[in-house]
Subunit: 192 residues, 2 copies
DNA sequence: TTGCAACTAGAGAGGTCTCTCTAGTTCATG
DNA sequence: CATGAACTAGAGAGACCTCTCTAGTTGCAA
């Protein structure tokens, strides 16, 4: 019944992401997204009531995509799956360089001009809780202390991915191997 | 011979840092620094020709301070010194929570509105090369492969520091002990 | 005393951005 | 056809920011 869509939400999110990556959070203005997509400001504001909502939606889309892959890799709760999930961070980053760069180079807070809106905060919080639940389940199933688990399969892969993607490079198999070895080593309850 | 200084550079950098930490990069405007320090815009622009220079100077001051401590800890190139350097990241963060938060939560790029100026880029690059040189020397002296070394004494401490500082907490001795153990484990050529 | 360099002070030009508002378009449906 | 929901379009008010510019102040040195 409505007029056919000329400018898709996805295109706007893609543009916002590209603008952030090219010129930092400040470059992702509603105006710049209008110019990049060819949409008018009315069109953009019809979908995203505020500039912050647009940019946050781009970031949360990337996080949702990442978490989908990561939680899948973590699925059969075991130490092996945990090490696999750690490595999967790197492979996902290689497969989705733009979303990965967005997540690794910017926190959600960084992208926003004002305070975070309740709806966005709720969505981010839900993602966080899904991750928490999966990690807690793995910790319970393997007997690994939660802080140790988090260090090995969250913080460490994050640090490696962040470093390797810093210059726009993609993680190499050697990076993945080193990370797998380190994660396995850290997950072993008593080393030797 | 000149008029006595009323507003110091350090105070302006402190204000810029506090503004970034409280409200994100966008909050650190030249105007906000004027209000926070009581200095007039003329006074601020007398010292920093551009807003970006001011914010970048605050970030680079923090990085210089950190690297000074870190490279010192890395000094007598050995596996023990490397593990010690890893732990020194945490102790430094505990001793300098504001500079640490600035470095851990924001990259230099994040803070700037426009592209990075050549002088700033050169200073950041010099810091990066000093770190590279120190790590390469340690790798050569200890026989540890450079990627493994980086993982243990750069990525791992970064991950731990980032996590502990996320909520504004300071690293505990237990964190330091756990990090030392993990770093030593990763640096051991053949575990067991 | 005079000169001068470093500094303070703040008004305001000019720019960019957000977001609103009015007006119009398109098309499945009754 | 006529209606109305979803959408497009873009002008512009108002806010905020950067940076410049003029005008002055201060205190050492000659």
């Amino acid at each position: 019944m409505p007029q056919p869509v000329k400018h898709s939400i996805e295109a706007m999110l893609d543009a916002a992401r590209a603008l952030v990556l090219a010129g930092g959070p400040a470059a992702a203005s509603a105006r710049a997204v209008c110019q990049a997509t060819g949409a008018s400001s009315g069109s953009v504001y019809h979908r995203f009531p505020r500039r912050d909502d647009l940019v946050a939606a781009a970031w949360l889309r990337a996080q949702d995509r990442f978490l989908h892959a990561y939680l899948d890799a973590l699925e059969p709760a075991s130490a092996e799956a945990a090490a696999h999930a750690a490595v999967s961070v790197l492979t996902w980053c290689g497969a989705h360089p733009e979303d990965a760069a967005l997540l690794l180079r910017h926190s959600l807070r960084d992208l926003l001009r004002g305070d975070i809106s309740p709806a966005l905060a709720a969505r981010a919080e839900a993602d966080r809780q899904a991750l928490d639940a999966a990690l807690t389940a793995t910790a319970a199933a393997t007997g690994i202390a939660l802080p140790d688990l988090i260090l090995a399969v969250v913080d460490l892969p994050y640090a490696v991915a962040r470093r390797t993607l810093r210059d726009g490079a993609t993680p190499t198999p050697a990076d993945a191997a080193a990370l797998h070895r380190a994660a396995t080593l850290l997950l072993a309850d008593r080393p030797c």
